[in-house]
């Protein structure tokens, strides 16, 4: 298979070209711009036959793909941070309407203060929007997951929009090797059929309508069931991808060296790659550490996580976000999951990488040390915090 050397953004554009959406809505925002630029190149050179809409804002980008999905057409858009927040109304709209839109989100810090670099407050603040949210570790996974996203979204029992998250700059702009997939097999993996809930010129449909107190709860119950069901489909889509293309990622979660781990670190996004290296080094030195990669944040893999960590002595959650006045979103979800499953393991929250600050191997080693020592700070630590500010240092 063709092997390329591309960035995360470029990989997403290549994957979208293979998924052949009918409609692409494009609005630029750093660090997603490369995605829409490459897609425009593919439309220009004829290798991608999509309707490419120059929309005038992110709110309109999401609205436009809501319109095209409502006609039953495969649709794609991409955004980041401020753009994601500008379209929040549309996020709820798309999920509530059961439109299987796929969107790439470049995880980027939220103003204010302004910052174009990566952190995860943008998407992690939208876990309530009803979207399936996947977080990828490297360029290959970004490519593969974008294709898997259509498989998950368009599944007849799911029919929900999917967000594929790449860490801003550290993944969107980092170059790594990529093995392509062949078009024919992709076509077999994600064949297109016009959506069952689409508008129809021969048999008219009214959609995105009002449901008052009499019916609203029941529509929401359906939506909840579909979102829960998506957990199985995230797993099966990844498994089938593995069978067809030889690569898979564990579905909802990947447990790395967790079987006999004394302490386990939960990571989300590209920092997982760094954490793997540290994990291996610690194992080499005889320390029993493990890594739990959270690939899917919604639906939340409650039972899987509980099963993986139940024998550990301590669990840390490293995430690039915080809900001010409380804790990180993934930490909250994990604690709730463990409580539901009656797993009583001490948990610790590590907030890092905000506004594009690097998370180094040394930072992660410190976290493992703290967890292993039993002297971890509770409840939450901002890692790598500069307590002394020296301008020019």
């Amino acid at each position: 298979m063709e092997k390329l050397f591309v960035s995360g953004d470029e990989a997403v554009a290549l994957a979208v070209r293979q998924a052949k959406p009918h409609v692409i809505a494009a609005y630029p925002i750093t660090p997603q711009t490369i995605v829409v630029e490459r897609l425009a190149d593919y439309v220009e050179d004829g290798s991608l036959n999509s309707e490419y809409l120059y929309v005038e804002s992110e709110h309109s980008a999401m609205s436009a793909v809501i319109g095209s999905a409502a006609m039953g057409a495969r649709s794609f858009t991409a955004t980041s941070s401020q753009g994601l927040l500008y379209m929040v109304e549309g996020l709820h709209y798309a999920s509530g309407s059961r439109f299987p839109i796929v969107m790439m989100n470049a995880n980027r810090s939220l103003a204010a203060p302004w910052n174009i670099y990566g952190d995860q407050r943008d998407s992690l603040s939208q876990l309530e929007s009803g979207w399936i949210q996947l977080y990828v570790e490297n360029v290959q996974e970004a490519f593969d997951t974008t294709i898997q996203a259509y498989k998950i979204a368009e599944n007849a029992d799911v029919m929900l929009p999917v967000m594929v998250n790449l860490d801003g700059f550290v993944l969107t702009h980092t170059y790594e090797p990529l093995i392509m997939t062949d078009q024919e097999t992709v076509d077999k993996y994600i064949p297109f059929a016009r959506y069952s809930n689409a508008m129809n010129l021969d048999d008219p449909v009214n959609t995105c309508i009002t449901a008052g107190p009499t019916y609203n709860t029941e529509f929401r119950w359906q939506q909840q069931l579909a979102t829960l069901k998506a957990a199985e489909v995230v797993d099966s889509a990844d498994k089938e991808f593995g069978e067809l293309f030889g690569r898979s990622y564990g579905g909802m979660v990947e447990a790395y060296r967790c079987d006999d781990a004394e302490v386990i670190l939960v990571t989300i996004g590209s920092v997982t790659g760094t954490a793997r290296v540290v994990c291996d080094a610690y194992r080499e030195a005889g320390k029993k550490v493990g890594l739990l990669k959270l690939r899917c944040a919604r639906p939340f893999p409650t039972e899987k996580i509980a099963a993986i960590v139940k024998n550990a002595k301590a669990v840390g959650v490293l995430e690039r976000d915080i809900s001010f006045g409380f804790e990180g979103a993934v930490f909250s979800d994990l604690n709730s999951a463990l409580k539901q499953q009656n797993v009583n393991v001490p948990t610790y929250n590590y907030v890092g990488g905000l506004g594009g600050r690097s998370i180094s191997k040394e930072n992660i080693a410190e976290i493992f040390d703290a967890l292993l020592s039993g002297k971890a700070e509770k409840p939450l630590e901002f890692i790598n915090l500069r307590r002394d500010i020296n301008y020019g240092a």
């Binding site: 009918h22 309707e51 929309v55 709110h59 095209s68 006609m71 109304e89 549309g90 508008m199 009214n206």
Partner: protein, 296 residues
């Protein structure tokens, strides 16, 4: 073939809705769908018309319909059009039915974008001159001196203080292939403009006045008469923008008395002589300008 009561089809495509009796918006949509036909996809943002037409499971719209997010009527229309085109659909019309707020305030960004994209869609702004669905609040198209619930008329301030946004001219300034103002009080003129919009190979825009008995505090049977009077007294002009040129459809030598039009409506009942003078001066200034610029 001229469109009139005889040549319009009998079939109703917007029927059984819960709009107030005598609603201008309902008439505007009813006539538009008769002209555009069954293969229409109607995009109706949150407004009176979508509220009375889309409460599950009562569906008075007999063509495809979608409620877009409030700001995004024209953006959803673009998406619908692109999706339909990509799927190989032919011979259909994408039409938006937005109110004055959904067009010229919150909807302005997406309207501008869709004209910029040259999308072949028909944007109908039915203007009842306030946010009526939320209970009569001031919008960008609320005329000077109007009493609304958030621009009350009292001792100090006599209702809304800003003039109507010139939305027809704003849209025309985009270089749109076809734009027009219309009024349900002149229905044949409105039908003629709907047909031009239907046949336009690109975006089109019709700004139709749709009197609202509830918000204007007029009798429910006055719909056609008050609309006609708005044109006849000069507070509403009938014009088109086509092939880059403005055209006044009706250029009255004399206007009917402003006072008669104003006094018939409860929303203006507080206006005093100074207010009326102001309104008259603004009207005269508008007509001086459009006669100077649009009449060859």
């Amino acid at each position: 073939m001229a469109l009139n009561a005889k040549t319009l089809p009998n079939e109703e495509l917007f029927y059984g809705h819960k709009a107030c009796g005598g609603c201008g918006g309902a008439l505007a949509i009813r006539l538009a769908l008769k002209v555009l036909g069954k293969r229409s996809i109607a995009v109706i943002p949150p407004n009176c018309m979508s509220t009375v037409a889309f409460i599950y499971p009562h569906m008075p719209l007999f063509v495809n319909g979608i409620i877009p997010p409030f700001a995004a009527t024209a953006a959803v229309m673009s998406g619908v059009l692109a999706g339909a085109r990509a799927l190989g659909e032919e011979d259909f019309h994408v039409v938006g039915f937005a109110g004055d707020g959904g067009t010229s305030d919150i909807g302005l960004q997406s309207l501008s974008g869709s004209i910029d994209r040259n999308d072949k869609q028909i944007f109908l702004c039915y203007d009842n001159e306030a946010y009526m669905n939320t209970g009569i609040q001031k919008s960008g198209l609320t005329p000077y001196g109007t009493k609304t619930t958030n621009s009350p008329a009292g001792k100090n301030i006599h209702g809304s203080t800003s003039p109507k946004k010139r939305i027809f001219e704003i849209v025309a300034a985009h270089g749109i292939p076809y734009a027009a103002t219309a009024n349900v009080g002149y229905p044949e003129d409105f039908l003629m403009k709907l047909e031009k919009a239907k046949n336009c190979d690109g975006p089109s825009f019709i700004h139709v006045m749709a009197p609202c008995p509830t918000g204007w505090q007029t009798p429910s049977d006055s719909l056609i008469d008050i609309g006609k009077e708005a044109v006849d007294c000069g507070l509403w002009y009938l014009a088109e923008y086509e092939n880059g040129e403005f055209k006044l459809n009706k250029n009255p030598k004399e206007f009917t008395p402003l006072k008669d039009y104003i006094r018939k409506q409860g929303r203006f009942s507080h206006l005093d002589e100074n207010d009326l003078k102001h309104i008259e001066e603004e009207r005269d200034a508008t007509w001086a300008r459009i006669r100077r610029d649009w009449v060859k």
